[in-house]
Amino acid sequence: MGCDSRSVAEIIDADAFEVSKFGHTTRQISVRMQEITDAAKRGLGTWVEIDTQHQAMVEEARGSIACPWPHLGRFIKRVTTVKHLDSGQIIRWTDLNVHLIAEHGFFEGRGSAFRIEPGKLAKVIF
């Protein structure tokens, strides 16, 4: 949650609205994130050309992180870094971020280490 004083429901609603302003759904966003992560994994920790507009790389650390929602599911500590070649913008996410967005529509609270601003994310990955 970081330092976000809003409730989880408020964060999810606000971010879903933000995503919709760019003509996408949280599902479409998570599918694109997963596509980029899967492509970047082939680089074994080095930069990979995703398409003419994007480069990405993945870095892994020891351990796994559990989803805070009450269901089974652990995610490798893998961070995907994506660079938009035209704008130079860089964005990072973890495997847990992809799951949280896909299954719960949750981009994390403001101030948390892996909060992703939906508007920036949509601009960078599409």
């Binding site: 409730s7 429901a9 408020e10 609603d13 994994k41 680089g43 074994l44 920790g45 080095t46 930069w47 790389m57 993945v58 870095e59 892994e60 650390a61 020891r62 351990g63 796994s64 992180i65 559990a66 009450p70 269901h71 089974l72 652990r74 490798i76 500590k77 893998r78 961070v79 990072r92 280490a113 892996f114």
Partner: protein
């Protein structure tokens, strides 16, 4: 309508959270489980006050069980057998083997009989002083810790320790993280670690931004079964990033013991400036009987002079190793690197049982 739903969800969530908090507080302060006897391996018994997690209780008795998540039930490392006295399985325990439980998820409410693997009984806690921090790359540092209490450590090259991250500005509770030992094993009074900064990482942020030379830290160990075999087969080392740590430790050991095995070490980096400890590797080339270091750069930057191997580290292995059937491989790095290396090595004829690895997962 929408506002009503939001309010209803908020009210229900608040009531649930309130009840959960009440339960935790009442269990902590009102419930008295009394003294509980814990029997370890039918050999050792001790009595503690019930109510805390088994992992916490064992730590208090200087019995250190591997744990990388600080007891949150997420790393799955603190498995042991609870033969008698444990409660039902919790959702975070997906291990269904007979009597195998996560020590962090077992609350001690009753007398317990447990089995701890023999190798874990020799694990100790070390109080150390940080005596040197050396920049290796933009996101990689080497830390040297001199042992204060006890003053020396014995470990097998390839093993790891768990470093305790204390409470600090960005972390509200103590957690342990596992790091491979990179030092020369003949230097028994110190431990060196090679740590890569993980964005948002609790322990790595502490090490990079808060830990200073002169600070005291706690670690425990050694753990792990990643180690050199006793054979005289040719060795292929493959690593990337902080995967350098256990390989470096093994190379020191080979030098110390006069090991004459033929060794080729493929080490991958994104760009040439991300390679590190090159001088040390050159020293090993002259000091070891038959050692070749092969740095591999994925994409040399413009203006960067690089006439060595290019591409992925696995591609370099494929180009240079024609027949791996008589070799052994030791791999350290990400799950992706290790999976890719295993695929290449088996294609080159290496038997799976000759491939040893330390996977970051």
């Amino acid at each position: 309508m929408f506002l009503t739903v939001i309010i209803a969800v908020g009210v229900v969530s608040s009531i649930g959270a309130g009840l959960a908090a009440l339960l935790v507080v009442s269990e902590r302060f009102l419930t008295d489980y009394g003294p509980c006897k814990i029997t370890v391996n039918d050999e050792r018994e001790f009595t503690i006050e019930g109510g805390r997690s088994l992992l916490f209780v064992l730590g208090g008795e200087k019995l250190f069980i591997p744990s990388a998540c600080g007891g949150r039930g997420t790393c799955g490392l603190c498995k042991l057998k609870v033969l008698e006295g444990a409660g039902p399985l919790l959702p975070t325990e997906d291990e269904r083997e007979s009597n195998v439980r996560l020590a962090c998820q077992v609350k001690v409410h009753d007398n317990l009989k447990i089995e701890i693997p023999q190798e874990l009984l020799s694990i100790r806690e070390y109080i150390c002083k940080c005596t040197n921090i050396k920049d290796l790359t933009h996101n990689m540092k080497q830390f040297r810790f001199e042992l204060v209490e006890p003053e020396s450590i014995d470990y097998i090259p390839g093993q790891y320790i768990q470093l305790l991250t204390p409470v600090y500005e960005k972390n509200s509770e103590e957690v342990y993280r596992a790091y491979s030992i990179s030092s020369d094993p003949s230097d028994k009074n110190a431990i060196e670690l090679i740590i890569r900064l993980v964005p948002g990482g609790i322990c790595t942020t502490y090490c990079f931004e808060y830990l200073k030379v002169g600070d005291q830290v706690k670690m425990n160990g050694p753990y792990g079964d990643f180690r050199l075999s006793d054979s005289d087969a040719q060795i292929i080392f493959i690593a990337g990033g902080s995967g350098m740590a256990p390989i470096k430790c093994m190379l020191h050991d080979m030098k110390n013991t006069g090991d004459k095995r033929k060794v080729t070490y493929y080490f991958g980096a994104n760009v040439a400036k991300e390679l590190f400890l090159i001088d040390l590797m050159c020293d090993f080339e002259s000091e070891l009987e038959d050692f070749t270091f092969v740095p591999v750069v994925a994409s040399p930057e413009k203006g960067e002079s690089w006439d060595g191997e290019r591409g992925l580290v696995t591609e370099a292995v494929q180009r240079n190793l024609k027949n791996a059937s008589q070799c052994e491989a030791y791999l350290c790095g990400s799950a992706g690197l290790i999976d890719a290396a295993i695929e290449i090595l088996t294609e080159l004829g290496m038997k799976e049982e000759a491939i040893f690895y330390d996977k970051f997962e």
